[in-house]
Amino acid sequence: MHVDPEIIRLLAFLVGVIAFAALNAAYLVWLERKEAAHIQRRIGPKEVGPFGLLQPLVDGIKLMTKQLIVPAGVDPVLFKIAPILVMVPAIMSFVTIPFSETLVARNLDIGLLVIFAFASVNVLGLLLGAWGSRNKYAVISAARVVSQNVAYEIPMLVTVVTLVMITGTMNLHNIVTQQLGGFWNWNLLNLSASPLMPVAFLIFFVCMLAETNRAPFDMAEAESELVAGAFTEYSGMGFGVFFMGEYANIVIGASVATILFLGGWDCPLGLFPGVHWFLIKMYFLIFTVIWIRWTYPRTTFYGLLNLSWKILIPISFFNLILTSAMLKVF
């Protein structure tokens, strides 16, 4: 029987992507705990395995062996489907991400669009889970998630549109190829296209924090206000899957930032480009995300709305106009 090698390749990549997402979700928890501990002058996990490296495994076993509680009064379908709606799109997004010249599951011409399309489903998952929980704290959290979504996606997408205007393509592979050859070629420092490029990166990064519900924009789960927000009624693996989805989304966000602004797999000095550089940049961004979480208190959601509508959106639109003018002139 003849099997198309493309199918085998896709299957291998699919397994690889899921494994990568799951491994990241598990070990980012470890990284988060270790990093938080060192910021707070503690040691962090250290008992299970060397440096506590087996801790995620044990946590996973604990979560999986817990009873799956579906509280009385919840909408059973929405309640069960919501964690999957958060997890699956995150894994799907990995399909289009080029980790190196050759390491990409599916090189799509609309790769960027696919990622943002899937990223929006994440919000839907949180909203449905919260609504299906029939818990007042969860519903407040859902309302916050939606208003937050409207606020941060506009500056983010305007920034991305600016970038697409410069690169002229939505193919992630081509976007990286254009930036190869050293850090002065990266979009972050592409000052001839727009002098505001570093600011655009900052806007993108802030919006990414909001998109992934990370501190200081973690209003959706705000544990000191809403107990656990959308996750209040979830326990065991329902919560675990939500959690994995959240971390997978952080990885996606950091990857997209790496591809769009930091030259993907390019080496800063133009030597030995490869997947290792992609991972170094990506994990550096993730490290920063965690660092921010354990440093800053939470804003309020109207704080985020003010930041978005009064600062980020005007700047990103200004950048858009400036870039298009410069593209026209030069």
């Binding site: 002058r41 007042k136 705000a222 000191s224 107990v227 440093t295 208190p297 704080g303």
Partner: protein, 372 residues
């Protein structure tokens, strides 16, 4: 399910905050009537940890009630010790040696610093910042070690006795305390740089959670809450007790009336308390720590006595009525947080939930002390 199905014409719903909720720091329950995320009405519901301390006082001898005082406000237990022993000493006419009074002031002020440090960490935790809590606990640990060496316990102190304190300090206490003062003074600028000047914190506290001076008077709010509203009232200054008149310290007063003002009052109070402790260590006289002629069984003369002290949360007053027997006829405890919490319902009207919880955090509630 029903709560959503039959929302009424005015579209409000009731949110039950507590008695188990991360922001209420204990078993406080607040019944919130909400319009979306705006608070229409807030009603604190008390009594989940009521232990009838006042009634217990009437059923045991004067001395037997002493340990109870440390179990009301477990964060500033020594001030509660101080309030109760002072009123009994006043009733029974017991003279306290000067060294004992100095030790009382030094340890009570150390305890005040530890209480404010814990509040500092817990308040930032309410605002979603986790890390400062562990730094504050690190500093607080030094105080607990110092007080443990003197009082024998780490939280629910019962160190003061009628006529003095039960134990003199050891040789390590004075150098240890001086080292701690030096350490905390070095760390306070760090707290101010990293936390107070943080832009997110400033946005969340400044001009948020207004409590007017009028409202403070109306509800009898005392302590940092009223001093953050521009009322210069501190029992240590205005109704001096113990040896406080001999110390040179300022009462920090801010008149912005917002959560930031209350935050700043407490942060400044830590520094003022350090000044008091330092002066106390300098002036500490030699001598006995216990009055010599204290009767084994205390029977104060018939009468009605009141004494107030300044705790970390405000003015704590004890009123005792003695009928001349070995048990109090009536014991009334006026706890500061009860009054401070009472204004929450009025103050948080029309506020958003996160801001109201920041306001609640700035009141520095200790629930066992509200319920008693």
């Amino acid at each position: 399910m029903s709560a959503f199905a039959k929302s009424e014409a005015n579209e409000t719903f009731v949110l039950n905050l507590g008695p188990q909720h991360p922001a209420t720091h204990g078993v406080l329950r607040v019944k919130l009537t909400m319009d979306g995320e705006y608070i229409v009405e807030a009603e604190p519901v008390l009594g989940y940890i009521h232990r009838m301390h006042e009634k217990m006082g009437e059923n045991r001898t004067w001395a037997q009630f002493l340990p109870n005082t440390g179990r009301m406000d477990y964060l500033h237990a020594l001030a509660y010790n101080h309030g109760y022993v002072s009123v009994v000493e006043r009733a029974a006419g017991i003279e306290v040696p000067e060294r004992a009074e100095y030790l009382r002031v030094i340890t009570a002020e150390l305890n005040r610093v530890s209480s404010h440090l814990l509040w500092f960490g817990a308040f930032i935790l309410d605002l979603g910042g986790f890390s400062p809590l562990l730094y504050a606990f690190d500093d607080r640990e030094h105080i607990l070690d110092l007080l443990e060496s003197v009082t024998g316990s780490r939280l629910t102190y019962c160190y003061f006795r009628f006529g003095g304190v039960y134990n003199d300090i050891d040789d390590n206490f004075v150098p240890g305390t001086r080292a701690f003062i030096k350490r905390l003074r070095e760390r306070m600028p760090m707290y101010h740089n990293l936390v107070t000047k943080n832009i997110i914190l400033m946005k969340r506290l400044q001009e948020v959670g207004p409590i007017s001076a009028e409202m403070c008077r109306k509800y009898g709010a005392t302590g940092p809450v009223c001093r953050g509203s521009g009322i210069n009232f501190d029992v240590r200054k205005h109704e001096p007790y113990s040896v406080y008149p001999e110390f040179d310290f300022d009462v920090p007063v801010y008149d912005q009336c917002d959560s930031m003002a209350r935050y700043m009052v407490r942060m400044d109070e830590i520094e003022q308390s350090l000044r008091i402790i330092e002066q106390g260590l300098d002036k500490l006289p030699e001598g006995p720590v216990m009055a010599e002629k204290v009767p084994k069984i205390i029977k104060p003369a018939k009468g009605d006595y009141y004494h107030a002290v300044e705790t970390a949360r405000g003015s704590f007053g004890v009123r005792v009525v003695s009928d001349g027997s070995n048990t109090p006829y009536r014991l009334k405890l006026r706890s500061p947080t009860f009054s401070n919490l009472s204004l929450f319902g009025e103050a948080c009207q029309g506020m958003l939930l996160p801001d109201a919880l920041a306001l609640m955090g700035s009141l520095d509630l200790v629930i066992p002390e509200i319920d008693r």
